[in-house]
Amino acid sequence: MQPSGYAKLDATFAALADPTRRAILARLASGEATVNELAEPFSMSQPAISKHLKVLERAGLISRSRDAQRRPRRLEAQPLAEASEWLERYREFWEDNFQRLDALLHELQVKPRAKRTKRRHSKRTGDHQ
């Protein structure tokens, strides 16, 4: 991925780091809404909500509809899809490694046990002599 791609992911994750912003996104997932409508469920001033909207807008997660009077915001799915795809690729990469680690750990636990049993056995045999 290009550096700009990573900068964009950074902006997406940073925008998602705030619970109010996540709630706003969840609300917009069910349809566009005006600033007033978005402010309603939160005990927050309109300027405070506008600040969150600006962060989301800069991250490309929301946009404004053409309706000039109401200026409703709507969700933009693409950056979210990219963020989730990045995490999924990352997960796959590590899961491959970890499955090999599972096999190795299993082997390491079986081997020393086998050795110990053998040692104990030979010691016991030695005691008998």
Partner: protein
Amino acid sequence: MSSPTLKVEARGDREIVMTRVFDAPRRLVFEAFTKPELLKRWLTGPPGWTLAVCEVSRNVGGSIRYVWRGPAGEEMGLSGVVREITPPERMVATEKFDQSWYPGEAVGTVILTEQGGKTTLTQTIVYESREARDIVLKSPMEQGITMSYNNLAALLAQLANEKSQRSA
């Protein structure tokens, strides 16, 4: 292949957190994360690749060097410095790829906890920025946000897609 046990999520601005349970005591898991001869057997990356060079210092301030080699002889190197090492529970190290695709160095923290013979790995990687690194080193859990962003992101993307298909 997917396993239900590996969880990967983004947390805060620049952290990626992975959690995974291993069916082994943590002493062994710690060895598998710090002994080159063991690392070479599992941290091999994509299919067809090997971990050709693996040096891991067991001392604070010591260096880490990994070189992965691909099927066509292509190489990908990573260097780092050990910041903390407390066997068998914790290791913190910096990491920077030779041809890095993100600015600055990252800091990786491996924390192992054992319960009933099983070990839970929590691996946190903080990308770039001193502030973010200091936050994760000083108070990794206080910064925790329980919500899994990747699940949220996937869900929201799906909802928005369905909606745009309906309105189209």
